[in-house]
Symmetry: C2
Subunit: 228 residues, 2 copies
DNA sequence: GGCCCAATTTGACGTCGATCAAACTGGGCC
DNA sequence: GGCCCAGTTTGATCGACGTCAAATTGGGCC
């Protein structure tokens, strides 16, 4: 399951220190967290944990993308969140139950830091900056999951895609272009769409000046996307 | 907007003390929270706060139901969560930004306790039980919002209704009956359905032994609902 | 540069749920 | 008990998206 599994080396400590979670900690707490981190690399499609397993650790992603999803009785999958470099996941179980509530899978080769829940719980009791950082992360994830519900319920496929493109645009107006950091099928899942529906949404955005070639998306006019 | 607005009296302090949030606090923190609570009653349909307003307070509901929702550009509404007695809401803004991110509206006559965010932030720094209780609440809300996304994406209307009924069933098997605590249109919204779709879902569940008369739902066999 | 295979796109079709309009009902109130 | 009206149900229609199958493409690799 785990390719490698070791304590964080200097390079990995530096990467971790740049994440918003670790940066929010006091120097003392930060170094305790770094000392407690276990680093592992996993190949694409590997399972990180499964729904129902005992939730002993939570994770911080250093490189690659991870898919959090649940499976229905008839085998269909629904993505809950896609995590990228710097994102934490399963932190909702620090005070939220003792079993994982969804599956986590590497969407490509990934490097991740694993933290022991119990250790962090104890750290949070002693150092208020730890509790504060956890609360900030939980709030952030809660708000974006709420956004997800609202998007699903109010927007059509082309609108969700336009929204997504806007969040990843550097500029506020005019033409620009974006390179997707992952496969389209992953993007489809995070928008709650079948890959075919994403493809059709892109092609319906052609009239709005959006051109797709592989992972590169050309946007004729950012303003125009705002009123899809 | 606010009918009454006063400090919590004995009756209200008792109600508040029974909520899972307050019960998780140390005696000291608990009494500070109760002292800081402002009680208000509001009539059905009244707005409690709107998206974009400065987020100065969060709330704990003492009686009635509150709808959290967002409005799309073309005026359609999507419910994010329905809160009942004992539920907290807008607590995700304690460490999650300075503006409300959704609207809150009384679904019927409600009594609610208002807490000053800044006061509670300070309390959380001093007393770890406060931070712990906030984290537990945030985790709980995050997990149930994730459930909501998954339900929307994987289940049809009859399945969502069956799920809902199962969560509110006292018994594990055999026949039973349930009384909805609110209007069907509110239930429809929380399941992400139009009222018509909820009605049709109920009528499609008749073949599974579900009978509806007003707010009373008769269930022939709880087991049967599990494999809708 | 060409090959190859997985990823993506396109086409055809079915189903689910939104919407609008009209009929009905149940529960609060006198 | 009867009235009344908001809330709910029913009917008809439509658009959006999922699914399956087949065609196409792009990007990694030699």
């Amino acid at each position: 399951m785990l390719d490698r599994n070791h304590r964080a080396n200097q390079r990995e400590r530096t990467l971790l220190s740049k994440t918003s979670f670790i940066r929010a900690l006091s120097p003392m707490a930060s170094s305790k967290m770094l000392d407690g981190a276990h680093i592992a690399t996993m190949p694409a499609r590997a399972s990180i944990f499964r729904e129902g397993e005992a939730a002993l650790s939570f994770y911080c992603l250093l490189s690659g993308y991870v898919r959090l999803y649940r499976v229905s009785r008839d085998g269909r999958q629904a993505d809950i969140r896609i995590c990228g470099p710097g994102d934490m996941f399963a932190e909702c179980l620090i005070y939220g139950g003792d079993k994982y509530r969804f599956n986590a899978q590497a969407a490509e080769n990934v490097t991740l830091a694993r933290f022991d829940m119990q250790d962090v719980r104890e750290l949070a009791e002693q150092d208020p900056t730890v509790a504060k950082a956890i609360m900030a992360t939980l709030s952030d994830h809660l708000l974006s999951t709420m956004d997800c519900v609202v998007n699903d319920r109010l927007h059509t496929a082309p609108q969700r895609v336009a929204d997504y493109l806007l969040t990843r645009c550097a500029t506020e107006n005019g033409p620009t272009s974006i390179r997707l950091p992952y496969q389209k099928s992953l993007l489809a899942g995070m928008l709650g769409l079948a890959p075919e529906a994403l493809s059709r949404a892109f092609s319906s955005l052609r009239r709005t000046g959006v051109t797709v070639r592989g992972r590169v998306i050309q946007i004729g006019n950012v303003e125009a996307l705002k009123d899809v």
